[in-house]
Amino acid sequence: MAFERNPDLYRKDWRWQEGDLTVTRTCHWSAPGCHDSCGVLLYTDKDDKLVKIEGDPNQTYNNGTLCMRCLNMLEAVDHPDRLKYPMKRAGERGEDKWERISWEEALDIIEENVRRIQKEYGPESIVGMMGTGRNCNWAVPLITYAGFGSPNFALGFLSGDSCMLPRAAIGAAVMGDLPIIDAAQFWPERYDHEGWKRPDYVFIVGNNPLKSNGDGFLGHWIVEMMKMGTKLIVSDPQLTWLAAKAEIWLQGRPGTDGALALAMIHVIIEEDLYDHQFVDEWCYGFDKLAECVKEWTPERAEEITWIPADKIRRAARLFASGNPSSLQWGVAVDMNVGGIPQAHAWIAMNAICGNIEKPGGNLIARDAYGMVLSYPYGYDKYVSPEMQALRIGLDFSPLHRFAAGAATAHGDSILQCIETGKPYPIKMIWFQSTNPIANMAGEAPRVYDAINKMDFVVVVDVFKTPTAVAFADLVLPAAMSCERNSIRGWWTPTRAITKVSSYYEAKSDEEIVVAVCSRLNPENFKPRTDLELLEEAVENGIDNPPFTYAELTKMVDSWPERPYGMHELGLLRSDGQPGFNTPTGKIELYSIVLEALGDPPLPYYEEPRESPQSTPELAEEYPLVLTTGHRSYEFFHSEHRQQPTMREFHPWPLVEMHPDTARKYGVADGDWVWIENTRGRCRQVVHETPTMDPRVINAEHGWWFPEQGAEEPSLFGVFDSNINNLTNQCVTGATGYGAPYKSQLCKIYKCTDENSDVMPSKQVTELGGFKYDRIQYSDDAVHDNTNEEVLGGRKYVY
């Protein structure tokens, strides 16, 4: 490097003094949230006020770099709209009238309602929900299990659990674990780690890692590997910057990556490009896989995916030629009804190419030191077997029951449970760090109706969200990351999150766990402070963490030993034998587990339920394929909209379309356009780009407008630009996993004064919503997925 930093200013201590300022070396997670935890230096003044944030150059996870959201942290922490005190509703739901109360009074209200509902309906009638990938991953489950005594913890009505959980479930079923790309992130010395090599090819499917940073993987690590010579193959309906740099960009029809996967496997097997030794030693069911992809020629896949067959062939050949190649997969794999079989296919493709557990390939990821601070935390300790049997969606599918993270109740089933009262009524929802009517629920107006049926709703968050104004009977202020003691334990390293400042009466997620659980369940729930809770979490680490929480704070991070070839070393199975943690000890291309559960044991392709191919008549009225959910640097899902700096960069929701598409429908760059389908409509601003397929448009999610009115019918305009007016609930794969957020049909037309008279927020909150038939699961679908009729109706294409 041309210029070195002064090591006295960037120390490896955990805390030091710099003039009047105290510098604390720690990491950030949420709030505001993301999926990573970069090393940060937090500068506080003598009043313990955060005055500056910098990236920590001595944390090799991010090497001092930060994204724009962390760089703008002070704007979040000091934002005048932050929730400062507990508040109870002083008017009707949907009004913005509140009364400030104390935490003790809030706990009284919680206890009174929880006790009443437990007595009248049973603990199972209380549901706890959270948003994606935060460090309340264990807090909200704990409150649900230990506080309410309910088995029903879920993500915020997320349809089909379709964020990582399908990949985690199928990974657990067919290889015992979840594989992630090896960017040397398992070792503090990173790219200098002995034995590590950069992959020859990274195949990116279903995500733009630079913006999404999914699953503990910092997307810009891919750029580091590109500098070392790694080449890319990218499957994405939009031209990302990475796609523009790729050897091959596969621009497919949204929702059809499953067909792409089968065709790539077809090429790799037919042209004998696979790793015979790895297949012989470590894969099970190769012949059956070969048989099942036999008919999946690239030409057949081209008809489905719109990707030219020769490009599919080239992509398969390049991927197979890498020594190694690796797979960077993302949420779009989950967000279609065929999420499970598609993920199975990608695992199979990667496995037969021999990339698993190889340097620069894909490595099995487990939480460091076995500290699983996630959905199952406390489930068996606090929820009785009788109560566990009542978990909603438990009977949806055997895979859902047995899969990793299985303590999650099923979002669609909870919705249906609320709507029908079967098998039992839901009376209370506790929302913490989730704003489901903005996202992650699909079919937002339907979810709005459902939540309004609750007797009692609590919202815990950092801002007064549309969800809080619409439904909350009680609002509790959450602390931001710099205001909490916590742990980042999701993969590696284990990192301490250290409290440096406070904000009025906001409490951290951990403090809220302690306050609620020690009030509701004082005999069984022992921790009495956040620090006691964290020490207990460290003690619960099954691989003996070599530190206490207090020690970890001063260590800043801790990296467990992590050799390559864990399956060869006997480190994956509880019996200590070599092999993967599956019945055969191998990666199951043909899955013994799925077969036993009555699910299709081989990968297959499932066409989106709504598409030009499956519903051609519908496509006549709604001719455009709609994909949603792509990310931007400025926002994490529905967060950050109140920060002026983020809105300066990204003021309005954008819908991307080809200039020909815009012309065809009489709109132009910068116009507001209505996006509509059978379920509803919303409006966004046209962004023309020649990189889109003219048959596809790409709309943003998560938009609300904190600068607009809070009270209904406005609700900060949450429904006006809400692409989830058009998405589904209760349309999932047969396993209950996978939902079609990424592939709908729609039409567009220019916004005019005449057609904008009734805005969607008014339509939803005052006029009973959009009129259409809401899809329900049939009883068969819910209770018996081995039923031939149900399977037949799902369009499996072997």
């Binding site: 041309a2 630079l210 750029v223 910057w241």
Partner: protein, 113 residues
């Protein structure tokens, strides 16, 4: 050596357009809405005749850029260099930066001050 002898090297081949330099600069210099010390310009995406795509970001220091002189005097890097997510920026004496160019195509050195 004075800061006038120091420049900014940017390997724009790998600039991802993530805005970190822009926001870091705004915060360091407390710049109001609409003001920038460094701006990320964009060329493309545009399909070339061979079917590949031109899609380039190019950070451009503005007249407000002072190379974070106060930071540099303390022994810190300019904040854009420190925080660049793609790690494509370097700060240093021109001669040292110039030596980097020979094996780093699509790179510029800015003389700012």
């Amino acid at each position: 050596m004075s800061i006038k002898d120091h420049g900014l090297l940017i390997n724009y081949d790998f600039c991802t357009g993530c805005h970190s330099c822009e926001v870091a600069c705004k915060k360091e210099h407390d710049l109001p809405e609409g003001q920038w010390g460094i701006r990320v310009l964009q060329d493309g995406p545009r399909e070339k005749e061979d079917g590949t795509w031109e899609y380039t970001y190019m950070p451009l220091p503005t007249t407000l850029c002072d190379l974070c002189e106060a930071r540099v005097e303390e022994g810190r890097l300019p904040t854009c260099v420190h925080h660049c997510q793609a790690r494509v920026m370097q700060f240093g004496p021109y001669e040292e930066l110039a030596r980097e160019l020979s094996n780093m195509p699509r790179t510029v050195i800015y003389a700012v001050k």
